[in-house]
C-alpha cells in the first residue's frame, strides 16, 4: 500500500464531511430549513445561531446544511448522469468507430463550441425550472466533456498491441471492453469524476445565484448568496458563508482528484490498483 499524501487525506476528510452532513441534514440541522427563528434579520453569530440568521431571520447554519444537501444532491445526480452517458457513448464511439463515432463526435464538437452557461440559459428560458430539469440540463451539457475524455482514453488504449493481440485471439467485444480497455481507463476517469463534480457544484451555484436554478424557499448555496447579497453593502458578510463552503468543497475534491490522477500517471502501466 502506497502512502497517501497529507493533502489527499485533508481532501478526503472534508469531502466525506460535506457528504455526510448532506446525507444526515435532517438530523444535524438545529432548525428547520425555512423556519423563521428570529424577529430581526442578519443576527450576528451567537450560541443559538452559530452562523447567525439570514435576510428573513432564518437560522443560517440550518440553511447552509440543507443548502449543501440540495447543492450536493443536484451536482451528484448531474455528475452521475453526465458520467454514465458520456463514458458509455465515448467508449462505444471509440470501439465501434465508423459513422457512429463521426456523428457523436461532431455533435459534441457543436455543443462544446459555445459555453455551457450560455446554452443552459437558452434552454432554461423555455423549460420550466425544477430540480429534475436542472439535473438533466447540467448532466447532458457536461456529458460532452466526459464523452471527449473517455473517447480519447479509449482510443489511446485500443491502438495498443495488447488489444490487437486479444482481437487476434478471437476475443469478443465484451472481453475487450471490460478486461482490456476498462481497467486501464479507470484511473483517469475517476480523477475526471472529481473535476466534473466540482464543475457541477459551481454550475448549479451560478445558476441559482442568477435566479435560474433552485427556487426559494428551497435552500442551496448559490441561492443563499443571492438571498443575502444586499447585506454585504451594509457590511454584513452572511452572503460569504456559502462562498466559503463552495470553495472548501471544491478544493477538497480537487485535492482528491489530483492525488488519483498523480497515481495514474505515475503508474505508467504499473501494478494493478
Amino acid at each position: 500500500m502506497r502512502r497517501i499524501p497529507i493533502s489527499a487525506l485533508i481532501g478526503l476528510f472534508f469531502t466525506a464531511l460535506f457528504f455526510l452532513s448532506a446525507i444526515f441534514a435532517d438530523f444535524i440541522a438545529p432548525y428547520g430549513m425555512a423556519e423563521v427563528v428570529s424577529n430581526s434579520i442578519w443576527d450576528p453569530m451567537s450560541r443559538e445561531h452559530l452562523l447567525g440568521t439570514d435576510a428573513l431571520g432564518r437560522d443560517m447554519l440550518s440553511r447552509m446544511i440543507y443548502g449543501g444537501q440540495t447543492t450536493i444532491y443536484i451536482a451528484t445526480m448531474a455528475t452521475i448522469l453526465s458520467f454514465t452517458l458520456g463514458s458509455i457513448l465515448g467508449f462505444s464511439a471509440a470501439t465501434l468507430g465508423g459513422w457512429i463515432d463521426q456523428a457523436l463526435s461532431r455533435l459534441v464538437d457543436l455543443v462544446m463550441s459555445i459555453p455551457s452557461l450560455i446554452l443552459a440559459l437558452v434552454v432554461l428560458s423555455v423549460m420550466p425550472v425544477s430540480t429534475t430539469v436542472l439535473i438533466l440540463v447540467m448532466g447532458l451539457l457536461d456529458s460532452t466533456r466526459v464523452f471527449r475524455l473517455s473517447r480519447a482514453v479509449a482510443v489511446d488504449i485500443t491502438v495498443m498491441d495488447y488489444v490487437e493481440a486479444a482481437r487476434l485471439r478471437g476475443e469478443g467485444t465484451r472481453w475487450i471492453v471490460f478486461r482490456e480497455i476498462l481497467p486501464n481507463a479507470l484511473s483517469p476517469l475517476v480523477a475526471e469524476l472529481g473535476l466534473r463534480f466540482i464543475f457541477a457544484v459551481l454550475f448549479i451555484s451560478t445558476l441559482s445565484f442568477l435566479g435560474l436554478g433552485v427556487q426559494p424557499p428551497l435552500a442551496d448555496w448559490g441561492g443563499i448568496v443571492k438571498e443575502n447579497k444586499e447585506g454585504l453593502v451594509y457590511g454584513i458578510p452572511a452572503a460569504l458563508v456559502p462562498a466559503v463552503a463552495i470553495a472548501a468543497l471544491a478544493i477538497s475534491v480537487n485535492l482528491v482528484a489530483d492525488w488519483v490522477l498523480n497515481r495514474t500517471t505515475s503508474l505508467k502501466g504499473g501494478r494493478g490498483a
Binding site: I118, L119, V122, M127, I246, A247
Partner: protein
C-alpha cells in the same frame, strides 16, 4: 492560406449550426413562447390568438430562415416583455460589455503571461508553488463568489470603489474606469489562474524540447536561448492560451455584470431568461456564441500562421 480560409469557413458553418441549435433549443422543448408570455393559466383561445399574432403557426423552418435573415440584416426582432427593438437595446449594452472586457483583458493578459513565465522559470520552487496554490483556490470559486468577496473587501471595508457599477455616456473616461474597477478586478482574477497555468505549461513544454538543449550546448546566453529558440516556438501556444481565455472571459462577463449591476449584454440576457423573453435570449445567445467561436477561430488561425511546417511546406 488555404488552411486559414478553411478554418474560417468552418467557423462560419459552426456559427450557422449554433444558430440552428439555439433556435431549435427554444422550439422543440416543451412549452412555447405564447405559453411563456401568458403563463400556465392562460385560456386556449388567448394562446391561439397570440400564436397567430407571433407567427408561431408557420412551419419551424420558415420561421428559422426568417429569423436568421433578419438577424443578418441587423434586425433581431422585438422583445416580448416590453415591445422594444432588441437590436437597439443590445447595441449600447454590447458596447458597455466590450468596454468592460477590453479593460479586463488589457490587465489580465500581460499579468498572466508574466506570472506564467515566472512560474515556468522557477518550476517546482516556491514562486511556482505559490502561484499554483493561488490558482487552485481561484478555480475552486465560482465567478459570483469572487465578485462578492472583492466587493466586500474593497467596496465595503475599504470603500475604495463603488459597489455597483453604474455607467452612463456623459461620464468621463476616468469616472467610467473608476466605476468598473471592481468588475474588472474580478474578471482579471477569474481568467488569471487559467491563463497563468496554461502559459506555464506551454512555456515548460517548449523549454523541455531537445532543441533548447542544443542551444544550451552551443554555449548561448540564457537570454539568447529564450529570444532565439524558446520564444518563436512559444508564440503559437501562448497566443492560443490568450484567445481561449478571452473566450472564457465572455462567459465570466455574464455573471460579473449581474453581481455589479452593470448595464451590459450579460445582465440583459439573464434578466430576460427569467422573464422568458425568448427572442431576446435567442439574440443574446447568438451574439455570445459568435464572439466565443470567433475568438477560438482566431486562436487556430494564429497557430496555423506561426507553424513553420505549414508556412514552409516541403
Amino acid at each position: 492560406m488555404k488552411l486559414v480560409s478553411q478554418r474560417i469557413a468552418l467557423g462560419l458553418v459552426l456559427i450557422l449550426a449554433i444558430s440552428v441549435l439555439i433556435f431549435a433549443g427554444t422550439e422543440i422543448l416543451p412549452g412555447d413562447v405564447a405559453q411563456s408570455i401568458l403563463g400556465q393559466s392562460a385560456t386556449p383561445e388567448a394562446l391561439a390568438n397570440l400564436r397567430e399574432e407571433l407567427g408561431l403557426n408557420e412551419p419551424a423552418l420558415s420561421r428559422y430562415l426568417d429569423w436568421l435573415f433578419s438577424a443578418l440584416q441587423g434586425d433581431l426582432g422585438t422583445a416580448l416583455t416590453n415591445g422594444k427593438d432588441i437590436a437597439s437595446s443590445i447595441a449600447g449594452r454590447l458596447g458597455n460589455t466590450l468596454f468592460l472586457a477590453f479593460w479586463a483583458a488589457i490587465i489580465a493578459v500581460p499579468l498572466a503571461l508574466t506570472l506564467g513565465l515566472v512560474a515556468a522559470r522557477y518550476a517546482g520552487r516556491w514562486p511556482d508553488k505559490l502561484i499554483s496554490g493561488v490558482t487552485l483556490a481561484t478555480i475552486s470559486l465560482p465567478e459570483f463568489v469572487v465578485g462578492y468577496i472583492v466587493m466586500y473587501i474593497l467596496a465595503v471595508n475599504y470603500r475604495l470603489f463603488p459597489s455597483t457599477s453604474v455607467i452612463y455616456d456623459s461620464m468621463s473616461l476616468w469616472e467610467k474606469l473608476n466605476a468598473i474597477a471592481l468588475p474588472v478586478i474580478v474578471l482579471v482574477l477569474v481568467v488569471l489562474a487559467h491563463m497563468m497555468r496554461m502559459t506555464r505549461a506551454a512555456i515548460l513544454n517548449v523549454m523541455q524540447s531537445p532543441y533548447i538543449e542544443t542551444a544550451e550546448l552551443k554555449g548561448l546566453k540564457p537570454a539568447a536561448i529564450i529570444a532565439r529558440h524558446a520564444f518563436p516556438n512559444a508564440v503559437a501556444p501562448v497566443v492560443n492560451v490568450v484567445m481561449l481565455n478571452l473566450a472564457y472571459l465572455v462567459v465570466g462577463v455574464v455573471v460579473v455584470e449581474v453581481v455589479f449591476v452593470y448595464p451590459g449584454i450579460g445582465q440583459y440576457l439573464v434578466d430576460h431568461v427569467s422573464k422568458r423573453d425568448v427572442p431576446v435570449v435567442q439574440a443574446c445567445g447568438l451574439i455570445f456564441a459568435a464572439v466565443y467561436i470567433s475568438l477560438n477561430i482566431l486562436a487556430d488561425v494564429v497557430s496555423i500562421l506561426t507553424n513553420p511546417r505549414l508556412r514552409h511546406p516541403k
